[in-house]
């Protein structure tokens, strides 16, 4: 069982202002329809990248779904995130084919390079590192996906290099010197 809880003691308070009007049309579309908890949460996550606390409260209020029920659903499925994510989500495939082709090495290398554990986001909110079950490109194993782009037949150092290049580009765009990762 995946255990996913918000740790209220140690989790840093997220102070992003949440603009609730962004999900108004979503609410209009699904309100009153039976079985719409999952599409509502999916829609909200599409909008914000994760499901902020305020959104849970708002949806409960507007759609009449129990808060506990919604939280139950959100923590049951792997797709839902309760914490903000980085601009780039690095999905390292850990399907069977990737596993036998040493996907662990890719994750290990990225964990070391980014300084975050699997499932966490870097402090600058640029990258979130995730392990996923199967991306379905088994013939290119081991594979990782960043945004829409898939990278296949990787080694640890190659994966790190790809991520490093993204960070350099991002920093250039912001006019900063590239820190080493």
């Amino acid at each position: 069982m995946r255990v996913q809880r918000l740790d209220h003691r140690s989790a840093p308070e997220v102070t992003d202002a949440v603009d609730l009007s962004r999900i108004e049309s979503l609410i209009e579309k699904y309100r009153g329809r039976k079985g719409s908890t999952i599409p509502l949460l999916q829609g909200a996550q599409d909008e914000y990248g994760y499901i902020p606390r305020e959104v849970f409260n708002h949806l409960a209020l507007r759609c009449g779904i129990e808060l506990s029920e919604m939280y139950g659903v959100a923590t049951f499925y792997a797709q839902f995130r309760l914490q903000p994510v980085g601009r780039y989500i690095i999905k390292v495939c850990h399907g069977t084919a990737c596993h036998v082709q040493n996907a662990n090495k890719i994750t290990d290398a990225l964990v070391e390079a980014l300084g975050v554990a699997d499932g966490e986001t870097t402090e600058d909110r640029l990258f979130t590192l995730e392990s996923v079950a199967c991306l379905g490109c088994c013939s290119l194993a081991p594979v990782m996906m960043i945004g829409e782009e898939t990278f296949g037949k990787l080694t640890g150092p190659e994966a790190v290099k790809i991520v490093k290049n993204i960070r350099i580009k991002e920093n250039e765009a912001r006019g900063e010197d590239a820190p080493s990762i």
Partner: protein
């Protein structure tokens, strides 16, 4: 006309040369999008006259990106066409009319080494994949698409007759269960209710399987037509496709297909003039839970709840979605239906064995030369699939085992490679047919590690309802972790066996009942590997890091100091140009020195 003389060419103008790029998920991952764009640019900039088209996956994942050229001389399927090769290809084949033979993987004009891959296949479910543009209903129709539902409407074939045809074909559920499809339909048909539902299970969660994704991406209409026929047969009023959210391309193409089918009257009111046959389908995106592949959990998820299975009976055929009679079949099962209706049950039952008829699609992956998607008749041996179609093991290493059925299945060892592919023969080995993932393993794969991998997966995916599944899998995983870390104890194997039986006997759904299978089959066939880990603290396949020792071969070491610099715990000593030495006490067996050494001087044991 004299014998041997060729027919004179028709005077009508030759069709335009076609260039078709394979744009399935795997092709795109391999760079097919860039290839397509390059060819499009070349056509514009050079003012070339050919038709550029898109198709989906033909199954040759190991040769992606694939580009097919069809001209007046014949068909040429080119493999591994990146941007640079696309330029070469267009220049030689299109401009100068000289096919680039060394890049051709298949042609109707001459033999190629890849011929074996396609030669033994019988394509029924995948009949259109890689041959049509999946976003065009006209192309589907041009290959007998929607002809089966038309035939039913025009010939007035009764609902009972449709069910009888499916029953006679011997088709069994392709999602893994293997339950006779016709029988399932009959149960739903017999249930009396003004509302009934049809569900397509496209929640392909098994890591290492991608058949359903390819089918949905490559030929969505065949799945829709199957569902429409099923809806007619059981009298369904609504349909749902429950598809993994991780398959965005499949969902996009399904949406397009649904709109096209509605516009052409294959969905909606009084479909094809069949009185009272109203039916429509909508897509429900799954949110990532393996257990939702189980029927009752899937239904709970469609209803917007946590996807937890409930006990059966009542079966979905009596009380399923919203408490109404519901029939659930998997993607591949649905894709077979139109073919069975148009070709007849005998044609389908001609393939296969006594109890397993027809064909099965497999996703070949792992340490195999030609990975990809194959559709083979039931009854073929595993050896033929792996060595004939798959071309054998990468780097010509020794074949060790093939994993079938994913987390619910097991590892079939080399000495059982002549097992034939049918439900009962595969079950006899302790594995299951499953949805069709075949992951090939060689001598460098550790079977304890594989068992641990699957258990880690099922442990996380257990919904938590049944104690034995929730806690038992966790305890089993802990034992496997300690074995692979060199902390294995006498009695661990027996403890695993006891736990496995308890979990199997005391879990409500298929996930728990089959979760121990990967452990049980590896214990059955590779017990010595477990023993080596526990007693000798050795990993024979040299995978489990903590059990390996790294030493430096004084003959090969050049004293370049790379390993010493890279060692995270500074346990390698030695001067420049002197033989280095690893302090075994301090070594954490991370393997960094081994992967860095350019002189093969680091020995792993």
């Amino acid at each position: 006309m004299k014998p041997g003389e060729r027919m004179p060419r028709q005077s009508e103008p030759m069709e335009k040369t076609k260039v078709i790029v394979g744009l399935g998920s795997c092709g795109i991952a391999a760079g097919a999008g860039k290839t397509y764009e390059k060819i499009r640019q070349l056509r514009e900039s050079e003012g070339l006259d050919f038709e550029l088209k898109k198709t989906s996956c033909v199954g040759m994942c190991y040769r992606e990106p694939l580009v097919e050229v069809i001209d007046e001389s014949g068909t040429y399927l080119y493999g591994e066409i990146d941007e640079a090769r696309a330029i070469e290809l267009i220049d030689k084949h299109i401009v100068n009319k000289e096919p680039v033979r060394e890049l051709v993987v298949q042609s109707d004009l001459f033999d190629t080494p890849d011929q074996e891959f396609l030669g033994s296949q019988v394509k029924i479910a995948l009949r259109n994949c890689g041959y049509i543009d999946p976003e065009s209903i006209e192309e589907y129709e041009s290959r007998q698409g929607y002809a089966s539902i038309r035939k039913i409407a025009e010939d007035g074939i009764s609902r009972e007759q449709v069910i009888r045809t499916v029953l006679d074909s011997g088709l069994r559920g392709r999602g893994g269960g293997g339950f006779p499809t016709g029988l399932k339909w009959r149960f739903a048909f017999n249930a009396v209710s003004p509302e009934k539902y049809i569900i397509c299970n496209a929640d392909e969660g098994d890591p290492g399987a991608f058949m359903d994704r390819s089918l949905l991406e490559g030929d969505p209409h065949s799945v829709l037509e199957g569902m429409i026929i099923g809806a007619y047969a059981i009298g369904a009023t609504g349909g749902v496709i429950y598809c993994r959210a991780e398959y965005p391309l499949a969902i996009k193409r399904l949406r397009i297909a649904l709109n096209q089918a509605r516009a052409k009257g294959y969905l909606g009111q009084d479909i094809l003039g069949l009185p009272g046959f109203h039916f429509d389908i909508y897509i429900k995106e799954g949110a990532g839970a393996f257990v939702c592949g189980e029927e009752t959990a899937l239904i709970a998820s469609v209803e917007g709840e946590r996807g937890m299975p409930r006990k059966r009976p009542p079966f979905p055929a009596e009380a399923g979605l919203w408490g109404k009679p519901t029939n659930i079949n998997n993607v591949e099962t649905w894709a077979n239906i139109p073919w069975i209706i148009s070709h007849g049950p005998e044609a389908y039952a001609r393939y296969g064995t006594e109890k397993s008829k027809g064909t099965k699609v497999f996703a070949l992956a792992g340490k195999i030369k030609r990975s990809g998607l194959v559709e083979v008749p039931m009854g073929i041996t595993l050896r033929d699939v792996i060595f004939k179609l798959g071309g054998g093991i990468q780097k010509d290493r020794k074949f060790k085992a093939v994993q079938m059925g994913g987390p619910s299945g097991g590892c079939i060892p080399e000495h059982l490679a002549d097992t034939i592919v049918d439900y009962d023969s595969v079950n006899a080995t302790g594995a299951i047919m499953g949805s069709g993932g075949m992951v090939v393993m060689d001598e460098t794969t550790c079977m304890v590690d594989v068992a641990k991998f699957f258990l880690d997966f099922t442990q996380k995916e257990s919904c938590g309802k049944c104690t034995f599944c929730r806690i038992g899998t966790k305890r089993m995983l802990e034992i496997l972790i300690r074995i692979t870390e060199g902390q294995g104890r006498e009695g661990d194997i027996e403890k695993l066996e006891v736990l496995a039986q308890e979990i199997k006997n005391n879990s409500l759904c298929g996930l728990g009942q089959t979760a121990p299978n990967p452990v049980l089959t590896t214990l059955r066939y590779f017990r010595d590997e477990y023993e080596a880990h526990i007693r000798d603290k050795k990993c024979p396949a040299k995978v489990c890091k903590q059990l390996l020792t790294y030493t430096i071969d004084p003959e090969k070491c050049t004293g370049c100091m790379v390993c010493a610099k890279k060692c995270p715990v500074q346990c390698i000593s030695g001067e420049r140009k002197q033989v280095h030495f690893i302090d075994q006490e301090a070594c954490i067996a991370c393997g960094e020195c081994f992967s860095r050494c350019r002189f093969d001087a680091v020995i792993v044991n």
